[in-house]
Symmetry: C2
């Protein structure tokens, strides 16, 4: 076939793949926020049929021939299309190696698993979830066999799917630096409780007021209401379709002032990334973030670098005091900012502070490695988890709800995802340092919105979407290769200041 | 092909068609209740691609050959499959006559139209909606040309799509009887205002309390929470997937006590019909109601025959007084039941009482006939509407929001739908009469729930789903052919009693 023919075949198929992505997006959203529980089995069966149709599109011989031919010729194509073909080529190669029945059965399994997981977490009943988890693990172990290559074996295969090019040796080096520098520093911080009466953080904060303040934050972050909605779910998440439809969820705990606030900022960071991708990419398969870690770098940047800074709250604390006038009437700004920057060992990853957060990730990295490479069965996860948790934090989760059941990721099939969270925080520190060369961040924040900062991120990161690999984008944005030293320095500087240590 | 081969091909394709129905269901629900406005254009484009794929499934030559062969042989098939094949045969015949580009462009047009309509209605701005409506009308006029047959021409074609076998001559006869008996009776009632101070109906009724009472009604009607959800939308509606996922919306007006109550009962009537279809039909294409009018007969039966009866409120008025203790403290039961059974000319169909309701339908029947058969252009609809409205009701809507813009149906492409509403009420009266032969309805209601009545309807109507034509089901349920005299008698008896007329 000629290049022109190949491009036409490719684009025709891409149009349909995009429509199926839309279906995935809407049906998943519906399952997680709307569909009645009793409807799940019948609807999971429909999702399996759809997955099968999508698989057939992806494995259509004519489409694959077109990709093959364009891939070989990608030097002569426009760079966005060339990058997309590289990705499609990789995905087709993967799809050809995964048996179709296994792929569709896995999709159906996941739809059945979700409500079981939600119930198990609620009732602290790991045993009811274990048989589902075991099947999910088996699928992931099988994947490592189907997709291995020279230099990419076992857990590498799963890691590479979430952060292209980041394998065990990379993470071992990254986590090695953290183990050497941060783990002892975190222990020192944990042993030095901050002075102050922080009991205000556990007053009653009515849900509707929390929602009102989160709506305010949405405007501070300039998240366009015409393209973004906010709803509730068990575990906060962000999803979207192209740069046009951004959906953010939150979870409100009435006895916790800050959980929903930082979830809102975090998830809006993901949302802004999606919303600021170049609109020209909406018709391609490259409209989302560049990778999991790059996505997480944006949410963490807004949540931690901006959202926990005294500068941010100098501007927005008056509004918070207005919404919670009774609860915060005697709490000055400096006590509030100290409160939100406490670091202390805790059980729940999503509620963890910035400093002890990476320890939670290192724990999950250890668990996933043991599950995928050492054959640890699902039933033994609670014991393994609790033991390792004790190694890192010197304490044991009292329930599985506060332990191995806390995160949704394994229930939704994702092994190899967690490590990207820590990597994202490290990207964020490096990006922050680059931003400060161009921009007076303090001045930008004092304007009342994050618009100027959003603009910098759009120009240096967001606009590229997934049309380049994360390593390329990091290089463009910061002028350097990935360097985790920025992250270590950032954390040690920040917490030394908060805790009045001399370095 | 052998019969066995044909059945296999048919079932394989049906499986996929069912999955696309699920996609239609979820994406439409999402558009109407959830998706941000700015996302509509990009997502409408995806829906168009999906419609195209669905169309290809329906027009697949092998599938059509299988349908053709099984259709010819349907006498030897099980009756459910035989009926489904009759329907598929008819649909394929239709699809072959509608050009694919027109079909997909229409789907995309509808997705664009919905937000325009919502805005136009809000702002009383018919002009902004008119160009969209004109295109929708053109498509419907074209349909009548593509699908006409001997004995089925013009508006007949559209009517037949919503209520199989009911054409202009049938409706002319039905509406003729109403014009002769009901129109003068309604005028007499309208001229005799009911005695009583009904100003309590327009107090403030906070939305959250209305929602609470509607939730109570859901339990009274035994709508299973595990399979049904209730949400809000501009115009109340019910949708579902199989008997497993029922979605009901409502709209709450804080200065109106009864609007949300009767919408809740009405929509739950639709919901119960869907929920009580035989579960064995979930894997077929026959799991919804038998027709538009049969669906409407169920919602109207619950809303009017049960929901407005003194018997019903004898049981449930104490709960209503508990929820609105301040507003209803001086209002005795008999004043409340008189209030909810007032009949008076009004502008809004969905808020109209049972007696004047069919006049609203007759008006729309006249408008649709003029649009489809006499070439009335969209721009002239407001004037035509207002003139005819004056003929029926002796008054003129002060705005288009209270006139031609009030209903969503034309904006969602549906011409030929409205007449089924009146037909549904007439079915309901005939079914009610049959039910009373088997069941002491008063005793059933006094139990506190509608369970016994639900059971009767499941056995006589609901369980069949769409596996039979409405005329057959009506015959099974009532032992008779359709007879509109039941409806006329029911209304004249009821309102003669309410208004103390002697007949």
């Amino acid at each position: 076939m000629t290049q022109q023919q190949a491009i036409e075949i490719y684009k025709e198929n891409r149009r349909k793949l995009l429509a199926f992505r839309y279906v995935d997006f809407v049906t998943s959203w519906d399952h997680e926020t709307e569909a009645p529980a009793g409807a799940i089995p019948l609807e999971a069966a429909q999702q399996a049929v759809l997955a099968e149709m999508e698989y057939k599109l992806q494995t259509d011989p004519l489409f694959q021939e077109a990709v093959e031919s364009l891939y070989g010729d990608r030097g002569s194509l426009d760079p966005v299309l060339a990058h997309e073909l590289e990705e499609q080529h990789r995905q087709i190669e993967e799809m050809q190696k995964i048996p179709m029945e296994e792929f569709t059965a896995f999709r159906e399994l996941l739809a059945h698993t979700y409500p079981v997981y939600v119930k198990a977490k609620k009732q602290n009943d790991f045993a009811s979830f274990a048989p589902y988890l075991e099947k999910i693990i088996t699928y992931n172990r099988n994947l490592t066999k189907y997709l291995e290559k020279p230099g990419k074996r076992g857990y590498d295969v799963l890691l590479d799917r979430f952060e292209p090019g980041f394998l065990k040796t990379d993470y071992d080096r990254f986590f090695g630096l953290l183990r050497q520098k941060l783990v002892p520093f975190a222990a020192k911080v944990n042993a030095s409780p901050l002075k102050g009466d922080f009991s205000f953080g556990k007053c009653q904060y009515p849900k509707e007021d929390q929602i009102r303040f989160c709506e305010y934050l949405r405007d501070v972050m300039c998240v366009d209401r015409d393209h973004a909605i906010m709803r509730e779910s068990e575990h906060p998440f962000t999803t979207g379709f192209g740069s046009e439809d951004i959906r953010i969820t939150n979870h409100y705990y009435e006895d916790n002032l800050i959980s929903s606030i930082f979830s809102a900022i975090h998830e809006s960071g993901h949302g802004l990334y999606m919303a600021q991708v170049d609109k020209a990419l909406n018709e391609t398969l490259s409209w989302d973030g560049a990778s999991m870690a790059m996505h997480e770098s944006q949410s963490r940047f807004y949540e931690n670098m901006l959202g926990r800074s005294p500068l941010f709250w100098k501007v927005h604390y008056p509004k918070l005091k207005e919404v919670f006038s009774e609860q915060l009437k005697d709490i000055p700004l400096n006590i509030f900012t100290r409160y939100i920057n406490q670091a202390q060992y805790s059980f729940i990853r999503t509620e963890a502070d910035e400093l002890t957060y990476p320890l939670h990730i290192m724990l999950r990295y250890d668990v996933e490695k043991a599950v995928i490479e050492d054959g640890l069965p699902a039933t033994e996860l609670p014991a393994f988890w609790n033991e390792r948790f004790h190694d890192y934090f010197g304490m044991t989760p009292p329930t599985d709800t506060l332990g191995v059941l806390q995160d949704v990721h394994w229930a939704t099939g994702e092994f190899g995802y967690f490590p990207t969270y820590a990597l994202g925080s490290a990207y964020a520190a490096q990006i922050y340092s680059a931003m400060e060369r161009d921009l007076d961040v303090e001045k930008a924040l004092s304007s009342g919105t994050t618009q100027e900062i959003n603009d910098w991120l759009r120009e240096h990161i967001h606009k590229y979407g997934a049309s380049k690999y994360p390593k390329e984008i990091l290089k463009i944005a910061t002028g350097e290769e990935f360097d985790p030293q920025y992250y270590v320095d950032y954390l040690i500087d920040k917490y030394s200041a908060v805790y009045y240590f001399s370095r």
